[in-house]
């Protein structure tokens, strides 16, 4: 006997024509019912039939002993997944149920995917982060600057891991000329946390590098756990040498990242940071060198200008400038002297001529020219100006302008002056 479950019928589930549904109609109803009922669910199960598609989406199934649930995780959500899923892995997936009408199938659209038990780990990490942060171990003020150009870098990591390979490759490509000291330590598994912490302490104590890179390549959340351990966090915080934390991939964040002075997204990036500034520094040094040369050059130029005042040419010119007035004066004086002398001469000549002329006008001979005569009384050799004392027959010498006469006195007249 078949029961007709009309009483329990979904009130919406009535065929449009009252007799039957089309396939589309019923599928549409199922879709609406399912999707509205399960907008957000979290399911735990084992991954099976994991198949990443060429478009980048992941298709897989979640199963347990009795059932299978199709699932898809779209490319845009993959970066939130901290592990590489594989068949048989127990995971917890969250998302919504969606019906694909064309296939008549339903699947879980995963928004997040974590390994089972990881939720507990994440909560534990969150709690540890809170308590260590409360101690101030992650404070920004604690961060020290990295050395500008380290000559030696210590790498605390596994000597056989991907991290050291990547770091050495970057440093070689960069031709950075930086010495590397590898401080080997296991990076995962039992006791790895203590070993990593010890390696950091050893590196710092013996100054095996001017900067320490602590890291490893990518791995599962559990694999990276030692780098979030309290021991490692404390060792990094206590290190007197600056530390770069370089754990896993870009999206992996460990507590070592928070405690380190610098967080590098990957080991390669850490090597880039260490080697990065070389070309900038070369330019800086070249600039400083040019500045030194320029300063000294301009200094010397200035001195040269100052010294130029004392060059031979300048000295000669200066002496000439200095002597010029004196020489001029000498010249002037000489000239004046010569001129003065000739003036004196001509003056003297002039005066002499005047005197001579005057003299000649007083000459008795000139009087004679006018008809006068000089009469000398021979007996007394006196020039006569008076008849007194002259006797008749005395001889007289008469001097004329031209020639002379000898005469004797016939008579004399006493008389008055004319």
């Amino acid at each position: 006997m078949m029961e007709r479950p009309e009483d329990r019928r979904n009130p919406r589930a009535a065929p449009a024509d009252g007799k039957h549904f089309t396939v589309s109609e019923i599928t549409e109803l199922i879709k609406a019912t399912l999707e509205e009922s399960f907008p957000w669910i979290t399911v735990q199960g084992e991954i099976s039939n994991f198949r990443p598609s060429s478009s980048g989406h992941w298709y897989f199934s979640l199963k347990d002993v009795n059932a299978v649930l199709s699932a898809v995780m779209f490319h845009s959500r993959l970066e939130t997944v901290k592990f590489t899923p594989g068949d048989g892995m127990l995971v917890t997936a969250s998302g919504s149920i969606s019906v694909y009408q064309r296939r008549g199938s339903y699947q879980l659209i995963c928004e997040s995917l974590i390994r089972a038990g990881q939720g507990d780990i994440l909560a534990m990490l969150e709690e540890r982060k809170r308590s260590l942060a409360a101690e101030g171990l992650f404070d920004a003020a604690r961060k020290r600057p990295l050395p500008v150009f380290p000559s030696r870098v210590a790498v605390v990591t596994s000597p056989t891991g991907a991290a050291i390979r990547d770091i050495l490759r970057v440093l070689r490509r960069r031709n950075a000329g930086i010495d590397v000291v590898i401080v080997p330590t296991p990076v995962q598994g039992e006791g790895a946390d203590e070993r990593i912490a010890h390696a950091i302490e050893t590196t710092a104590r013996w100054r095996l590098g001017e900067v320490i890179i602590v890291g490893r390549g990518g791995g599962s959340l559990e694999d990276l756990l030692p780098f979030s351990s309290e021991a490692v966090v404390r060792a990094i915080a206590a290190s007197p040498v600056p530390v770069i934390s370089a754990v896993g991939h870009e999206t992996d964040v460990t507590l070592s990242d928070l405690a380190a002075d610098v967080r590098a997204p990957t080991p390669s990036a850490a090597a880039e940071i260490v080697a990065a500034s070389r070309s900038e520094l070369l330019a800086q040094v070249a600039g400083l060198k040019a500045s030194l040369e320029g300063s000294l050059q301009s200094r010397l130029d200035m001195i040269r200008v100052l010294l130029g005042q004392f060059s031979r040419e300048n000295l000669e010119r200066n002496v000439r400038l200095f002597l010029q007035p004196t020489l001029q004066r000498l010249d002037d004086a000489t000239e004046a002297l010569r001129r003065g002398f000739s003036e004196i001469l001509s003056d003297a000549r002039h005066r002499f001529e005047l005197a001579a002329r005057e003299l000649s006008s007083y000459s008795p001979l000139a009087v004679l020219e006018r008809g006068y005569a000089v009469v000398t009384h021979e007996p007394t050799r006196r020039v006569l100006v008076s008849a007194d004392g002259v006797h008749p027959r005395d001889r007289l010498d008469i001097r004329l302008a031209r020639g002379g006469l000898r005469a004797s006195v016939e008579e004399m007249h006493a008389g008055e002056k004319l």
Partner: protein, 83 residues
């Protein structure tokens, strides 16, 4: 290893350049500082253009403070690792 770190030398060079730029010091001292600066610049450039490097691995931890850490050359990467 040079006695002074790269940063110390770079800092000193910067200071020298500034002193010389100010031009207040006597010439003789300026020439001395200039020579020191050029020597620093050359050593910095040498460090910056260094291409050889040594890759070592710690093989033995010192047990006492007087002891040196034991370092051995780390075998360079095999060919397939090179780009």
């Amino acid at each position: 290893m040079p006695a002074k770190s790269f940063e110390d030398r770079l800092e000193r060079l910067e200071k020298l350049a500034e002193k010389l730029r100010e031009g207040k010091i006597p010439l003789e001292e300026a020439v001395t500082l200039f020579e020191e600066g050029m020597k620093l610049a050359r050593s910095l450039e040498k460090d910056l253009s260094r291409v050889e490097r040594k890759v070592e691995i710690l093989t033995r931890e010192p047990e006492s403070n007087g002891e040196e850490p034991g370092l051995e050359l780390f075998p360079e990467l095999s060919e397939e690792d090179k780009e």
